[in-house]
């Protein structure tokens, strides 16, 4: 017995909105010192984040009203455009280099990250492609390899920028989709083995890479160099303690922690709101993962399941990587914290993705109680 739902997943919506508001508040708190110093306006980042959030909410609403099945026809075109943008961004003069990474295409002060679009484009295309693959997935050459090569091409282009964080997320999302679509576990293990072997080869060629990657294990070996950001992040989390210093009371945001409004906003959350606040954010992210995968589980068709799994995987993987880096649990790779970090491309894309999830949840067929 099944029952068709007409309403979207309100839990997912509520948690998303809550994190969004928390994000605006924390971006403001974290950035006020920096933006006052740089732009003479303590609200510089906060104002822009609010604008982006509004734009994102509009897109989320539209996406939630737009039948996700109709997205399938855009999948190939969207992918081609995204690839084109990824190539364009590498052309000097077109792409903009920020912090040593050629990741932005901009008109005036308005900039977008093609890699953000590629994430969604790849999810959409792979969901579209894998939904029809059926038993072909069991084959290595015909099922497993083509989508993998597609993802590797995207990763290759992004690594040229270079942007390790986005590459890892895209690879992770591709693996999630392949896994969900029923790829042979042996193939996935093979992929994992190849990854390890590749990494080992790179380390063998240049041993300093090992040191760089393991720097997170002991950041105090180079406290003012590679370890600086992670140490400052740990200082923020540590001084927050159990209950935090209180909203707006962060000290690390006073130019100790670089760019506290983007990749390291979670450190400031930990400092101001303490372990309880920071853990609550993790729990809310877990709720999103749960609601997202629940949507995937009960989506009316395989395309819906794969699309929901891909989007949820993207959110989950990005959150894990971001917080993993901030807590010094994994090597430094720059990715934003979904819904919270400052950044227009990232925020609008995340909200649009949630809009798509909400649309799938509307059409999901839940088992009767």
């Amino acid at each position: 017995m099944t029952l068709s739902q007409r309403r979207p997943d309100f839990v997912l919506l509520a948690v998303t909105l809550f994190l969004l508001v928390l994000g605006v508040v924390m971006v403001h708190s974290a950035s006020s010192a920096l933006s006052l110093k740089t732009f003479g306006d303590a609200y510089y980042f906060a104002k822009r984040q609010v604008l982006w959030a509004c734009l994102g909410l509009v897109l989320m609403y539209l996406a939630s009203r737009y039948d996700y099945h109709r997205l399938r026809r855009f999948a190939p075109g969207f992918l081609v455009v995204s690839f084109a943008l990824l190539v364009l961004v590498l052309i000097p003069g077109v792409g903009r280099n920020v912090n040593g990474s050629q990741a932005w295409i901009g008109i005036g002060s308005f900039g977008v990250q093609p890699s953000e679009f590629m994430k969604l484009a790849l999810i959409l295309f792979l969901a579209h492609y894998l939904a029809d693959s059926g038993d072909r997935m069991r084959s290595f050459t015909r099922g497993f390899l083509p989508p993998l090569l597609l993802a590797l091409t995207a990763v290759g282009l992004i690594m040229l920028e270079p942007d390790l964080g986005q590459s890892v997320v895209i690879m992770g999302v591709a693996v999630v989709l392949l896994f969900t679509a029923g790829a042979n576990l042996q193939h996935l293990l093979l992929l994992f083995g190849a990854g390890v072997a590749g990494f080992a080869a790179m380390v063998a060629m240049a041993p300093y890479r090992m040191a760089r990657i393991t720097a997170f294990l002991n950041p105090w070996a180079d406290p003012l160099g590679k370890g600086y950001q992670i140490i400052q992040s740990l200082y923020a989390l540590g001084s927050g303690g159990l209950l935090g210093l209180g909203l707006g009371q962060s000290r690390q945001k006073y130019l100790y922690l670089p760019e506290p409004q983007t990749d390291f906003v979670y450190s400031i959350i930990g400092e101001e709101l303490g372990f309880l606040g920071a853990a609550a954010v993790l729990v809310l992210l877990a709720v999103i993962v749960w609601r997202g995968l629940r949507t995937a589980l009960y989506a009316p068709d395989e395309f819906g399941s794969l699309l929901a799994a891909g989007i949820t995987g993207m959110i989950g993987i990005q959150a894990l990587i971001n917080i993993g880096v901030v807590t010094g649990s994994i090597p430094a790779t720059g990715v934003t914290l979904p819904f919270i970090s400052y950044g227009g491309s990232s925020l609008t894309l995340m909200l649009t993705s949630v809009g798509v999830l909400l649309n799938i949840s509307r059409q999901a067929v839940f088992p009767a109680r």
Partner: protein, 683 residues
């Protein structure tokens, strides 16, 4: 295996499990950081944010008794650094090195310390104003200037060992600076504030200012003028006798207040590091222990008078020696003093007479008095590093030890012990505790916070006995061995001392410590003064006696000080033995080289009618005072110093057998005391 919806659902559940597991792991990691590591991380962060600039309270000033500044604190800038704020450490070190003239790698070492604040030392402590301006102009992040105190000594070396020295952190190391470190130093304060990474103050957190508390000022009993008299006399004595050490003390016997205390060699406390440590570490006046020699006879005399074992008019016959336990201890005067009263015994510093007093007292009583006078224990003066001295343990005292102790051999005492013991005689028999600080004064309000009251330690002898002893001591100066200290108009009483110093277990033939302790006015002493000269080397090889070298110094110190204190000269004291003021001057003939008999005959037969006083033992006159050719009033006494050969000996006079010394001379048979003699025993 076919790909089915069921399989996809199983994989989705697995995916959910994996993601939730990873999130749970992060919650655990977060708890580890924010709960378990929090105290440590929080401390580290605190050190990173907080800038604490130490503020020193001003170290108290030390004033003399009349309000003159002897040492005060002037402010000087010092460089401190907060390592966590310095990103370019080698660059910062190099710039600081250029200004401070200190190796850059040494500064870098300091900057690499994982502490919240370091002093750039030593070159960055108490720098000049120009250096401070240069460093301010460099505007280096994490480098600050603070003010530190620098001790200034307006009187240079004056009373250096009493004042003592301070170290790099303004901590007292020796002398009063050490003894009163807590009083002088006050409490350090600090300005603590939280700073952004660029050094600006964090908004909204304020700053805490812990004001430093200034130390208290000290007012001493030391009087700059008297101290200067004393140091002037020491300088002259050093110029004349080239001794190893000189120590002098002036005390107020009624209170125990120390009015002057000085030593040679001295040092400049502002530059103490340039001197040998023995010079700035030891205050000889309280630390050095040595055999007192005849000055110690005051104790024996006091004890015997108090116990009724003798009166000054009792007769005593001195054949030139005293037999103790089969040993003949000889008097310093060959042939002895013959028949005399005990007053003469004191005047002549006759050893057999004092041995007799010692025997009459017995060892128990004599040693009781020695202890009651404060020997063998610290006086408790408010200065660090006081010596205790050594007395024979009573159980080890045989007749020989009793005999030598009675005239001041075989015991070892400090100068301050002697001064306080004689002060007790001057003070009607009350032993006082010596002190140097008379008041604490608030540095800012100049109010007296605490006043030190004189402390009576105990009564040692009765006022009557004390008066009798003073009478005898006045007689010593007027008519006996201490005439060098005689000052017309001021009734000086005192006692000479000459002690041989044992070197390698034997008494040296040339190394003496000559001393004199005096008081004035004798009927109601205002001052007690003491001087000891260690190893004087008179020119012309003149012999070494306390009466000749030390007594005039004490006489001059007492006269100058009494005049300065406004004590009027008085008449009615004992006249000096020879009144010669109105008598025509005659020229002194040369007696040196004659035998004693010839010399005495020549003196009497000369028209000048000179008297002779014989000093030392031997057959020949080796030195005379005054020297041949000097104009003296007729009837004056010429002192003839005797030796065994007609040729003057280079250092000390007296016999080569180690005898001699106006007071301390014991024959070689008295050497049993030598092994415990003290010239080099430490305190």
């Amino acid at each position: 295996m076919r790909v089915t919806r069921g399989m996809m659902r199983r994989r989705l559940v697995a995916l959910l499990g994996i993601l939730l597991l990873a999130i749970s792991a992060l919650v655990g990691r977060l708890a580890y950081i924010q709960v378990l590591l929090s105290p440590w991380l929080s401390d580290q962060a605190q050190a990173l944010w907080s800038r604490s600039i130490p503020l020193q309270g001003t170290r108290g000033t030390i004033y003399d008794a009349t309000g003159q500044k002897l040492v005060y604190t002037a402010s000087a800038p010092s460089v401190i650094a907060t390592p966590a704020q310095i990103k370019d450490k080698p660059g910062t070190a190099a710039k600081l090195a250029a200004v401070l003239g200190m190796p850059a790698d040494q500064i870098l070492q300091l900057l690499n310390k994982r502490v919240s604040m370091v002093y750039i030392q030593p070159a960055g402590r108490r720098i000049t104003d120009q250096q401070a301006a240069q460093i301010r102009a460099l505007n280096l992040p994490g480098v600050y200037l603070t003010e530190e105190g620098k001790r200034v000594y307006p009187y240079g070396t004056l009373a250096a060992q009493v004042l003592g020295i301070t170290g790099a952190d303004n901590q007292g190391i020796t002398g009063l600076e050490k003894q009163y470190d807590d009083v002088l130093s006050g409490e350090p304060g600090a300005i603590t504030f939280y700073a952004k990474a660029n050094g600006e103050q964090m908004p909204g957190l304020g700053q805490s200012y812990i004001p430093p508390v200034d130390g208290l000022d000290l007012q001493l009993t030391i009087d700059v003028h008297i101290q200067q008299f004393v140091e002037r006399e020491i300088e002259q004595a050093v110029a004349e006798y080239n001794p190893d050490h000189v120590t002098a003390i002036v005390a107020d016997p009624k209170t125990g207040a120390i009015l002057a205390m000085a030593n040679y060699p001295t040092f400049d406390p502002a530059n103490w590091k340039q001197y040998p440590s023995s010079t700035y570490n030891q205050n000889l006046a309280i630390w050095q222990t040595f055999e007192p020699g005849s000055t110690f006879k005051i104790v024996t005399l006091s004890a015997a008078l108090q116990e009724g074992k003798v009166t000054l008019s009792d007769k005593f016959y001195d054949p030139g020696y005293y037999e103790v336990a089969g040993h003949r201890i000889r008097c310093w005067k060959a042939g002895g003093h013959g028949s005399q009263t005990f007053l003469n015994v004191v005047e002549n510093s006759c050893n057999p007479g004092f041995i007799a007093l010692g025997e009459r007292l017995g060892k128990q009583a004599l040693f009781d008095y020695i202890r009651k006078f404060g020997f063998g224990q610290k006086t408790g003066i408010d200065l660090p590093g006081e010596g205790t001295g050594i007395l024979f343990p009573l159980s080890k005292v045989g007749p020989l030890e009793l005999a030598t102790t009675a005239f001041g051999q075989g015991v070892s005492v400090t100068p301050i012990q002697q001064v306080m013991a004689v002060s007790a005689v001057a003070n009607g028999g009350l032993l006082m505790k010596p002190y140097v600080v008379q008041a604490y004064i608030n540095h800012d309000t100049e109010q007296v916070v605490h006043e030190v009251q004189p402390t009576v330690v105990r009564r040692v002898i009765s006022p009557q006995t004390a008066a009798t002893v003073r009478q005898a001591l006045e007689s010593v100066v007027a008519r006996g061995s201490g005439t060098g200290a005689y000052q017309a108009g001021y009734r000086v009483a005192g006692k000479t001392g000459t002690a041989q110093v044992a070197e390698n277990g034997r008494y040296s033939g040339s190394h003496y410590i000559v001393s004199f302790i005096g008081m004035a006015p004798a009927d109601n002493p205002r001052l007690v003064a003491y001087v000891a000269i260690d190893y004087p080397r008179p020119r012309n090889g003149a012999p070494v006696f306390g009466g000749v070298i030390a007594a005039p110094i004490v006489g001059r110190i007492l006269a100058d000080s009494l005049q300065y204190l406004g004590v009027p000269p008085q008449s009615g004291g004992l006249p000096k033995k020879q009144k010669w003021n109105d008598i025509p001057q005659v020229q002194v003939p040369n007696f040196v080289g004659m035998t004693i008999g010839d010399a005495q005959r020549a003196a009497i037969q000369s028209t000048a009618q000179l008297q002779t006083q014989v000093v030392g033992t031997g057959k020949y006159v080796v030195w005379q005072a005054p020297a041949a050719g000097t104009q003296v009033p007729s009837g004056s006494t010429i002192r003839l110093y005797l030796g065994d050969s007609p040729v003057p000996q280079p250092q000390a006079g007296g016999s080569g057998g180690g005898t001699g010394g106006q007071g301390g001379g014991a024959s070689s048979s008295g050497g049993g005391a030598g092994n415990s003699s003290a010239g080099s025993t430490g305190g």
